[in-house]
């Protein structure tokens, strides 16, 4: 099962810098990052090549962080690529709680990383619809 690292961040200058610095020092590569802000704080979601290492490094640095299971699915990098994934899930009533995407190879492949409530069910649905779910090593090795 693929994981990302969710980190609590105070909304203050220099916090993200400390976080990225800690990962850089350990040679951890960040594939994607999103930050959801709220009043006075935010949650950074990091897709990295070594999630467990990142998780423990961040703890050592004093951050509150959790490994969170995610579903990473390969899409075609063309108009309608994302829509196909969403339609497959929507049809079965599966709600996407949070998601972000990134391009792997321009105009060819992209990845959608999702937090969904019932991951096994979503996997079945997507596989059934012909999508490729990335295994851990595939995702981290991108």
């Amino acid at each position: 099962m693929a994981h990302q690292v969710n980190v609590f961040l105070a909304d203050r200058p220099g916090r993200l810098e400390r976080l990225t610095g800690a990962l850089a020092d350990k040679g951890i590569n960040i594939r994607a990052i999103t930050i959801a802000g709220s009043e006075g704080y935010g949650v950074a979601k990091l897709l990295v090549d070594r999630p467990e290492d990142a998780h423990s490094v961040l703890h050592e640095e004093g951050f509150s962080a959790h490994l969170k299971e995610v579903l990473a699915v390969l899409m075609e990098d063309r108009p309608g690529g994302l829509h196909a994934v969403c339609a497959a899930l929507g049809e079965k009533g599966i709600n996407i709680e949070d998601a972000y995407g990134f391009v792997v190879k321009d105009r060819e492949t992209a990845v959608l990383v999702m937090e969904v409530e019932k991951i096994p069910e979503a996997e079945d649905v997507l596989r059934g619809a012909g999508f490729h779910i990335l295994e851990d090593h595939e995702l981290y090795g991108l």
Binding site: V43, S64, K68, E97
Partner: protein
Amino acid sequence: MRGEKGEFWDPEVELLSAEEIRGLQLRRLKETLRRCARSPFYRRWFREAGFDPESLNSLGGLRALPPMDKDTLRSVEPWEFLTVPREEIVRMHSSSGTTGRATVIFHTWKDIQAWTELGARCLYMTGVRRSDVFQNMMGYGLFTGGLGFHYAAERLGAMVIPSGSGNSRRQIYLMREFGTTVVHVIPSYALYLLDVFSDMGLDPRKDTRLRIALIGAEPHTEDLRRRLEEAYGLRAFNSYGLSEMSGPGVAFECPFQDGMHVWEDAFIMEVLDPDTLEPVPDGEEGELVFTTLHREGMPLLRYRTRDLACAYPGRCRCGRWHRRISRIKGRSDDMFIVKGVNVFPMQVEKVLLQSMGVGTNYQILLEMVGNREEMRVRVEVTDELWRGDVRELKSLQKRITAALRDEILVTPVVELVEPGSLPRSEGKAVRVVDMRKDLGGE
């Protein structure tokens, strides 16, 4: 109703000499002690202290009894204090909060009358008269600030607008519509209300008939008083009281605004070193300790207020000998006051523990945002408090805010901060950072 001519509501008592006050105090103290011997609590209290109430022959003899405090009140069923049958009790007041046993004060009808009479004396001293319109902007209910002076102002014959606390625009509407001349208000709220006047395009100096403000229930600086007087175009008088001594009306400023007169016919005041419990010399800061002299339902003997102030002996320019106290300079415990409400850090700590299930480091920050008081509770987010979802944090924030509001009756701003970002607390005091300069902070 009494005449409108004199300067004094109750000249016979107000103008007693220091000597006469001491004589009256001793007589009333003896009566109080006889009364206490009927209370299960006091019988035990006297026995444990080896104190014989009948043998007391001087005011100093009272010092043979140990002082009591909030913990003493909490340590027994409040009914055990009663010196009268339960059916004689007509009202109770209680401290806020739900953690630990509430501290309760029971009043007989006579107690309410005596308290009302003291309140009327305070109001009259500052110049309030029958023709005045008295807007009581204090919380009604278990809090003593509202009801205490409500009845006092009625007794005096003023018209009372029982507006209670909050609802600022309505307060201003009432002032204008009914020609309010006197307000009873906590100073921080009076300050905040200036912004509301300004938002409404009004100037309280021109657009109201206010002439007197009675300000109390929280510490504040002389500078803030003068600013309020200037901005509203009125005279503001300091008030002191606490629910254990019935409520407001324990001490009040006279027109000379040079310290608050403690009504020594109703209370024996001691000023003690909070550590040694020995009296401090006149003019030096110490903890105020009071004994009630005409409360019949539930007298309190040598009650430690935890309020720190100085006492000044001698006759005041107003003619009264009743000793004066300075403004309250601090506390001998860690209680703080926000928006007129007493709060103990322990209440906050218990709420945090209950609403999160785990303990975490926290800090209470008291600050002024413009003219508005704000209580900010900073809570460190540890791994146990969430599982990686931002929505969990939002709901945690909401839950803590609601639980704190229920417990302390003030709505705080709950701020989530990173683990390790708050100073580790070595003593209780470190938990509270007070940056409200005008309200005695910093």
